[in-house]
């Protein structure tokens, strides 16, 4: 089995609005895949479709070689899912939650779960309703790992956690990754986390998977180009790979995918005073890639606005 997750033209509508649009996603076995996107991009809906909580309107999804809609109980037992917000039964204590979860998985590794709880300093007698957000996340992770799953699907697992807890949480995930053959698909808003643990990323924009590549490849592909003209900037001709174009005073700030000699030569024809190509980290690359048209903020009414948005020039 080459792919832990495979989707073909997966599509979902909510009230006539397409929230996931013909998604073709491949997560190879043993891969850690970070699914990124702005709020409402369709990440959570995608993950919910993968675990069968939401039914797609078109297309299909396969997990560990089986179609999600026909997933056998045995295969389901090899998959763990961590839902957004870490829903747990408030009336239980941690020990009861562990016992409840363990009952569904004959191969549940009790000692491993106890080790994780011990590592996080959580007592089985602690009431779920009294746990902090971070502790709930830790309990959720421990419960998800109880069956020693081959595939983990995590929906924004570090959302709302403080930096220390997040680091602890990620360390735990890294330890899991180091166990043989585990595949992880997770969504996140925290690019630093993604950069740390993901082999591969996907970026969803308005329900469409725009990017699907290794992290380093994406970072290397997106470039910001500052073009200073020292005068009123001229109009830009059509340019391959141009993602964003903003006029700021006498310069243009351009964002490119795969900026190369052809694009540079085209910009040189506009006689700029200075042309600077900037490398971006993952967070900046993500922001530049996914941001919509920038408009000047009316913070200082009366002052002449010197930043005028001209809108996106299309996505790669």
């Amino acid at each position: 089995m080459a792919e832990a997750i495979l989707t073909e033209r997966l599509t979902k509508y909510y009230g006539g609005h397409k929230v996931v649009d013909n998604l073709n996603l491949r997560v190879p076995a043993g891969c850690v895949y970070g699914l990124l996107g702005r709020n409402g991009a369709g990440k959570s809906t995608t993950l919910k479709m993968l675990v069968g909580l939401v039914h797609p309107d078109h297309g299909r999804a396969m997990l560990l070689g089986e179609e999600v809609s026909k997933l056998s109980v045995q295969t389901r037992g090899r998959i763990a899912y961590l839902a957004e917000g870490h829903p747990l039964y408030e009336g239980m204590n941690i020990g009861q939650a562990v016992a409840f979860t363990r009952a569904f998985y004959p191969v549940a590794n009790a000692a491993f779960v106890d080790q994780i709880l011990d590592h996080f300093g959580l007592s089985p007698r602690s009431r779920i309703r009294r746990l902090s957000k971070g502790q709930r996340a830790q309990v959720s992770l421990a419960l998800a790992l109880a069956p020693d799953p081959e595939l983990l699907i995590l929906d924004d697992p570090t959302l709302g956690l403080d930096a220390n807890v997040r680091r602890d949480f990620l360390e735990s995930i890294i330890q899991i990754i180091q166990r043989r053959g585990r595949s992880i698909l997770f969504s996140s808003h925290i690019l630093g986390d993604v950069e740390r643990i993901a082999d591969r990323i996907g970026i969803m924009v308005d329900g469409v998977l725009r990017v699907d590549c290794p992290v380093e490849h994406f970072k290397g592909a997106v470039r910001k180009v500052l073009v200073e003209f020292g005068r009123q900037p001229p109009e830009l001709p059509a340019c391959e790979g141009l993602l964003g174009d903003w006029r700021v005073g006498t310069r243009r700030e351009l964002v490119f995918v795969n900026f190369g000699p052809r694009q540079r030569a085209l910009l040189e024809t506009l006689n700029p005073v200075r042309l600077e190509v900037m490398e971006l980290n993952l967070e900046d690359a993500f922001i530049e890639y996914t941001r919509g048209p920038r408009r000047p903020l009316p913070l200082f009414p009366g002052e002449p606005s010197d930043a005028q948005g001209t809108g996106d020039q299309g996505a790669a």
């Binding site: 675990v51 909580l53 939401v54 839902a83 039964y89 409840f100 009952a103």
Partner: protein, 217 residues
Amino acid sequence: MLKALVIKELREVLGIAAVALGLYLLLVSGAVGLMPVASLMPRPGLGVPFVDASFEKTFALLAVLFAVALGFRQSMWEDRTYPFLLHRPIRRETIFLIKLATGAGVFLIGFGVPVLLYAWWAAVPGHHPSPFEWSMLEPAWRIALMMPVVYLGAFLSGIRPARWLGTRLLPLAGCVLPVLILLALPWSWVVGLPLTGVLYAMFISSICYVGRTRDYA
């Protein structure tokens, strides 16, 4: 795993069951003249247990509230935790059938125990100056038979997605009329039992269908 699910459901409905049982016991205590608070409660059937119509009405009203509370508690209140539960390696229908069996069981125990206590008291000679036959419990058993339909209607309303509350409550509203008719008409087990069975089957299959096909977004 079935045991774990049953325990979880029991843990969740324990509060509602305790309140209902408490109210029923209070009612029965009043009816048998045990508690001074009885003066605040209707004192149905103090002369002839299970014969006075107000007893049946009070028991039925409490049963409706009990059934509706149970149905919503097990369905709508689970909305947040469905993502924790429903991806487990177990058929979704099994999860919902266990929920229903547990809820109906809790209802029948919560309703039946006070009825039986009252009947036991009525059956002991010297407690009241009127005859007692076990067949006099038939109205109470009719309520016990019919109220799970209300419970199922509330459950279906709780689990069924809808654009607004009014349409969401349609199943609950829809079960009221047949239940009222079946309770009001002269009872015949030959007709009433199969009709009630049909209502059970309709609601249970609807719940399983909705539980399997709806989106838990």
